[in-house]
Symmetry: C2
DNA sequence: CAATTACATTCGAATATGCTAATATTCAAT
DNA sequence: ATTGAATATTAGCATATTCGAATGTAATTG
């Protein structure tokens, strides 16, 4: 497999590598929503959400449609939703295999010596 | 869905968000390989590959088995391989939809004037 | 016990990412 | 034309990632 394809994949994974962007894609999985509704449902700063939408747009994971004052977003390809679902399955498998996993999640903070 | 689960997913995606780590997982998809063989097949710096293996280990995407002098790595859960395969399908879909995609891929290299 | 092989870890510099606050832009309505 | 609402962009700072160079650590061999 050519490295260009791997870089493409890595780019997509990078776009998925943030809980807010995952939340956005999940919210959009049932159909399009305006930026305003997304901001409201996420309960986060407008600029912050807009930046995350910008990342998803840049990687073509979402498309946007302007309607007057508003901008409606939707997922471009359902395959991405499938990836997220596969990930959930992965989570459950791992949960069964190692219950330490949850402790591990908190670890990054322990780096403070 | 709780945010902790999204953060877990994001963490895994972060681990996948590098072409070298994707290459490692692909190389391991047919069975375990020693760190040395991985380094050789990747043709990269020993320390660099070891660091990437460290990331994959930290996120439990791979497990390692010590045998004397060597360390053998293998993917912990095939689901991750499935995610990579889904991603390949995604790539092909996108390729059909927008041929600009390839231009986008080469862009970073064109910085050399 | 050297010396070597196979990996891992640490350090430091470069680059990338994420956030808030502030500012722009774009369309709508008065 | 002004104002207001919805969204995007920029600036600046803090933190994270990535890399090569150097160093550390086990196990192996002589």
């Amino acid at each position: 497999m050519p490295d260009s394809l791997r870089r493409f994949k890595a780019d997509i994974f990078q776009a998925l590598a943030h809980s807010t962007r995952i939340a956005i894609l999940e919210l959009l999985s049932d159909g399009e929503l305006s930026a305003g509704v997304l901001i409201e449902k996420l309960g986060m700063e407008q600029a912050n959400v807009s930046q995350h939408l910008g990342v998803l747009r840049a990687k073509h994971l979402v498309v946007n449609r302007k309607a007057g004052n508003q901008v409606f977003y939707s997922v471009r390809d359902r395959t991405i939703i499938e990836v997220l679902q596969l990930m959930r399955r992965y989570f459950h498998t791992q949960l069964k295999e190692t219950s330490d996993m949850l402790d591990e999640l908190d670890k990054p903070l322990e780096i403070v010596h």
